[in-house]
Amino acid sequence: MLFTSYSFLIFIALLFVIYYTIPKKYQWKLLLFASYLFYAFAGVKFLGYILLTTISVYLVSHKIDKLHQMRTQYLSKHKGELSREEKKEYKLSIKAIQWKWLLFTLFINFGILAVLKYTNFTIANINYLTQAFGNGRQLSFWNLALPMGISFYTFQTMGYIIDVYRGKYAPEKNLFKLALFVSFFPQLIQGPISRFDDLSKTLFKEKSFNNKSVNFGLQRIMWGFFKKVVIADRILIGVTTIVSNPDTYQGVFVFVGMLFYALQLYADFTGGIDITLGIAEVLGIKVQENFNRPYFSKSIKEFWRRWHITLGTWFKEYLFYPISVCRPMLKLSKFSRRIFGDAIGKRIPVYLATLVVWFTTGIWHGSSWNFVVWGLMNSLVILVSQEFEPLYERFHNKFKIQHTFGFRSFQVARTILLMSSLRLFDCYRDVPLTFKMFGTMFTNYNVNILFNGDLMNLGLSMADYIVLLMGLVLLLTVSLIQRNGSVRSQLEIQPLVLRYAIYYSLIIAVIILGAYGVGYDSSQFIYNQF
């Protein structure tokens, strides 16, 4: 069920009504039922995977928790008797058992994800190698279907079990509540990746109908639909035309396609998240924000703190820090300081961890070399700009322009262009083609295509361009208003007529201007298959 399908709209409308009519203690149970129903729509055969994840994590989290309790009891019982050394040894022995259990769960769950997601990618690479160097024997591909949202729920659930292992919070006692946390349907397809201590605060609570939060939620859903069906799905046509005909569309076309894709991805992804958060809000549930006006970032590093925030946080907490501050890494750092000197030794943990994180982020986004290269290029940009930091500082100190509007705009534009050009890897078929097309931007100055009407042949009409331009202006306006806080709260205090005029314009715009139905290909959310 796509967010933008009629069946999904009917599904949530029914859910909203039932949710607020049944006794409150059944609310979370209804959500669990709805989530599994939603999941079953994608394929009943996939239910096994999500159940396996839920149950394995449930059992292991309790095992780990029991060990926590055992340790506390043992230590308090033998308080006076044990020496410091003995205590430490005991703690370590418990930790070791817990670690084994954790490792076991991570292995199973990431294992499933890896097998489903990367088997065919691996086979393709092996085939390539045997073709080039070996006897040319080819392995056949496996027929694997990726269960809906598996990348998201696996990450979310693994975050949970790691937190339990770290003793951050006690595990959920109720299996069904945990099942709801894993499968909560609005965030299943494309995130955000929630943390248990954060989401559980509102997920299981009994909620009475709150006019304001229902109202705000509906507004946000509508706004999400606007971004998704009016902007993203419309401009997608232009993006597809450009990137699927690389022989025809080169040079400035690549540049145009790159900017189109920047807008498309933003509108699609943030729109989807708006729908997710809006649905949750109607249900009285607070889900963490996933974006913070990312296109206003002044550097790539900042961009990644403001785009797909929950994924970035996940990688930071569960991959970047553990790798960069683990004992072997610290030892390596000390060792290399002795050998290569301070400057290099200090950088080793950060560099290694960054590369690992970005390699993983890349491959998480898609099982192809395009994404691997995309991830590594991201880390390259981040590390290089890190190295340039002192240089920038000197420049800033000398010219004192870093706070001027002009310079900030330059930084913002630079970040957008950098991010957009990296995303070309997401657009073109393979890595060499991507580099080639990137190259044509600097060799083929066919600027005249902007004026000679060629842009009208991309599948977008003049009317489409006008809608897109107006949509862009609206996005920008909303982003600027957001600097002063929630747009909906600011709207709430406006006169009734103005308020309703805005709500209704939005609804009518979605219905009339939406790129849906006959004539438009129904496009899946870009983040759907991950």
Binding site: I508, I511, G517
Partner: protein
């Protein structure tokens, strides 16, 4: 305070629904120029008077039979509930619906639609279904007609289907937003221009000539429905040279008519008797008859209706006379206009002709 809030909500809801309704009226295709056939189905509801004969079927009825001729020659009141590429289940449900409004003595069905066993084309579905008034019959017809990628909700709220016409809205969409001029009378689409037949293409070989089960199911239902209502059903194959009518199909229809004791007339075999001349009586080289051909066919068919089905002459019945007088004027006006256009421009300009 509370009543005020309720009142505001009510007014606001009405405003939203009202504006959506207006949008829907504005954006729905009006079929007043170009593909005018899209208006055929809805015009039935503004029709006054009863009919002795109802024709159902595709373009082979609504372009080949002239109810005015049937009236002028025999005093037979008839109506054509035809639409472009009308599929047999759509014909069946249109008949079912028509019987709720009136009870004719004879129903005539053109059998070309037997060749389609499954839903075909969204645009043609729309032309047949959008014009129908909402009823359980319409829902059943939609359900039987939808292609896999279509959804019921698009039919219930056509705005969802036609919203993307916003950039193509013309003056005519505003002019015809609530009410349209009547474009046809009794479901006949007149064309006065001529394009002679030059060659008759042979039918391509088909993998299978057997009509589908689904098609037969609805044909059976149609026979059944007529029997229940004590209506005579006549099956015809209009004298259109193509789509090609295969012998294997002819054989099946003859067999079916025999088995169910129905009259089946294949006018393709009666072209000489009817007097159709494909040099002058068709406007598109044999697919459809023009008004001259339709009048000839109607004269011939009217005789059968009179002699074999004893349909009474209503030309002296005052309930009918005034109504039909107006129709005859309308018919002759259009005919004259079309001939005038052809004289002036060499080809038909309006009424779905080249000019559009």
């Amino acid at each position: 305070m509370k009543t005020k809030r309720v009142l505001i909500s009510f007014v606001m809801a009405c405003l939203l629904l009202g504006s959506l309704f207006l949008m829907e009226r504005l954006l729905m295709p009006k079929y007043v120029s170009g593909v005018v056939e899209g208006s055929l189905i809805e015009e039935y509801y503004s029709e006054s008077g009863k009919h002795d004969v109802i024709f159902i079927g595709d373009c082979e009825v609504y372009e080949n039979i002239s109810p005015i001729t049937l009236w002028e020659e025999y005093g037979i009141a008839s109506y054509i509930r035809g639409s472009a590429q009308q599929l047999i289940w759509q014909s069946y449900y249109l008949l079912e619906e028509t019987l709720k409004y009136e009870k004719p003595e004879v129903v005539v069905f053109n059998v070309l639609a037997m060749k389609y066993d499954q839903p075909q084309n969204e645009a043609y579905n729309r032309m047949t279904l959008d014009g129908m008034k909402m009823s359980p019959t319409k829902l059943k017809s939609i359900n039987a007609s939808m292609l896999e990628e279509e959804s019921l909700i698009d039919y219930l709220f056509p705005l969802l289907r036609y919203h993307s016409r916003w950039s193509e809205v013309t003056k005519s969409d505003f002019q015809n937003i609530f009410k349209k001029e009547k474009q046809f009378h009794n479901g006949y689409y007149m064309r006065a221009d001529v394009k002679p037949v030059e060659s008759i293409p042979k039918g391509r070989k088909l993998p299978d000539y057997q009509f589908g089960d689904n098609a037969y199911y609805y044909l059976n239902s149609m026979v059944e429905l007529c029997k229940e209502n004590d209506i005579e059903l006549i099956l015809i194959k209009a004298p259109s040279l193509y789509p090609y009518w295969y012998d294997e199909w002819e054989f099946q229809m003859e067999k079916y008519a025999n088995k169910h004791d129905l009259q089946y007339i294949n006018f393709l075999e009666l072209i000489d008797e009817v007097g159709i001349d494909f040099n002058t009586d068709t406007y598109d080289a044999g697919l459809h008859l023009n008004v001259a051909g339709a009048e000839k066919l109607s004269k011939y068919f009217g005789k059968i209706l009179r002699e074999e089905y004893q349909i009474v002459d209503k030309r002296n019945n005052y309930d009918y006379v005034d109504i039909w007088k107006e129709k005859i004027t309308f018919y002759n006006d259009i005919k004259e206009t079309q001939y005038a256009e052809i004289d002036k421009y060499g080809s038909l300009q309006s009424f779905g002709g080249n000019g559009e």
